[in-house]
Amino acid sequence: MYAQLVETGAKRLKTKEEMSPEEREFQEKVDAETKIEPKNWMPEGYRKTLVRQISQHAHSEVVGMLPEGNWVTRAPTLKRKLQLMAKIQDEAGHGLYLYSAMETLGADRDEEIEKLHQGKAKYSSIFNYPTLNWADMGAVGWLVDGAAIVNQVVLQRTSYGPYSRAMIRICKEESFHQRQGYQILLDMMREGTEEQKAMVQDAINRLWWPALMMFGPHDDESPNSQQSMAWKIKRKSNDELRQMFIDQTVPQLEFLGCTAPDPDLKYNEETGHYDFGEINWQEFYDVLKGNGPCNRERIKTRKNAIDEGAWVREAAVAYAEKQKQRAQAA
């Protein structure tokens, strides 16, 4: 999940009676699972919520390139280097694709990016953690892309057409990334040296809890969920998604021969799900507020790239303008 705590602007749900005729018609369409398209009427809250959610998602793709960029220059084999480069390229593509989906709602890419650089827009908290050894490239693919997929598979059915279609395309590539990530870890655990195995366990120890935090706060602490669910922007609750992720991930963890840094993680025969310990919510809110290990570095890198590239973009515009004038003069 690349969007956390997305504001809807709604304190409570409106009843059918309180809705205007347009709102009622809109809600009926959503309830009937008819996709909302850019030209359709939509409540302003719906539009704003989507802009926030899609832009957060796009920012996450772009910021998410940085922890991988940290290792792409130090990949251990040609094969792994090429895989990581292809993954990073896909992420830039996802970012572009999502910003385009966002622009169908009348938002402007540059303005939304400016909000990110000013610290006003969020991106997934996970990317504020450092990648400290090569196994992190496996663990990020497996856990982070894995958590993102759990959310995004559900978002393929989200009510807004362009977002839903973007999710379908992005999910395919992310499933591929997740398998590659898991394979990195599996190869190191099966055929690696003791040092390599220790890298894998270390990566899991550091990224396990932050991956679970990706699903956002508990349902009863998630004030915006109800409206997002009614609009079918969101299709499952944070806790439901987190449980789905845990249930599918723990067997994979055991297959690796690794452990999670959670003494309370245990299969519950009665519920058929894994029980797990409490997330450190203080850390979660700290990171969201900008106090994670890498928040400052991530934003600074992104801001510098865009600021220092201003003259390049200006040149491209000036050149295009000159070419146009030349074509007209000819």
């Binding site: 772009v62 040609l78 480069m85 790239a305 390049v312 491209a316």
Partner: protein
């Protein structure tokens, strides 16, 4: 120098230049001036490292001393690297990045084009696939040189500076040595005179369109990469690129 020796040397040059330029582009991850450029830079880098792998694999077969493509890429030190000095120069600003890419792409394009007709079928096969990618790279970097050269006052100044900084590394691209000559005579590699002529022709054409001034043809040229004598940059590139392989020499699977 026998033809067999020359071929091994020549393949390493192709591979190393692709690899080092690809590595330089990897350094730019997350730092490009626009998201579209982020994608394009990584795409070009991906092509180059992919091509490097193909050349390394063929080189490893011919060298036949138990080293595979990964060992050639990650376990040779700077004095064994055969890349062009141009490819190891730092990214600096986007004008230098694109200028370096453009000078390389022109060389790469004409070299690969000639190699598609190589008497060595394996070389011809790898080159044919690589040429499609290099054709796109050249189109892209030419466009950027023109945009920056003929864009704003600032971009023109920066692009001209980039040309001036990089010019001294371009001589190596078109100055043949024994290896190049043996390869040409065997019909494996390009004719050096033709390559120099083609490179100069296209570089002059694009720079003129970009309102930029090329360096002098008789300017002093910094050479040595093809023989393992590098600038100070390569040691640092390899220190980073080969970190894991050096720190964990017992690891055989990653």
């Amino acid at each position: 120098m026998t033809q067999a020796e020359a071929l091994k040397e020549y393949l390493l040059r192709l591979a190393d230049s692709d690899m080092i330029l690809g590595q330089r582009l990897c350094e730019l991850c997350g730092k490009a001036p626009a998201l579209e450029e982020e994608m394009a830079l990584m795409n070009v880098a991906l092509d180059l490292v992919g091509q490097a792998r193909n050349w390394y694999e063929y080189a490893a077969e011919l060298i036949d001393d138990g080293r595979d493509a990964d060992k050639l890429a990650f376990r040779r030190d700077a004095h064994d690297y055969r890349n062009l000095l141009l490819t190891e120069q730092p990214n600096e600003d986007y004008a230098v990045t694109m200028g370096r890419q453009f000078f390389f792409d022109v060389w790469h394009y004409f070299t690969l084009k000639s190699l598609t007709e190589s008497s060595d079928e394996r070389v011809a096969g790898i080159a044919a696939k690589a040429l499609k990618e290099a054709t796109y790279h050249l189109r892209r970097s030419s466009e950027w040189v023109k945009r920056l050269g003929d864009g704003t006052e600032e971009s023109h100044r920066r692009m001209q500076e980039a040309v001036d900084i990089l010019w001294r590394f371009t001589g190596e691209l078109i100055t043949p040595d024994d290896t190049d000559r043996v390869m040409a005579e065997a019909g494996v590699g390009p004719d050096p005179d033709q390559l120099a002529k083609d490179w100069r022709g296209m570089v002059n054409e694009v720079l003129t369109q970009a309102t930029l001034t090329p360096g002098a043809e008789d300017a002093w040229m910094y050479m040595g990469g093809k023989h393992g004598e590098h600038t100070e940059h390569l040691g640092f590139i390899l220190a980073e690129m080969q970190f894991l392989q050096r720190a964990y020499p017992d690891a055989t699977t990653w």
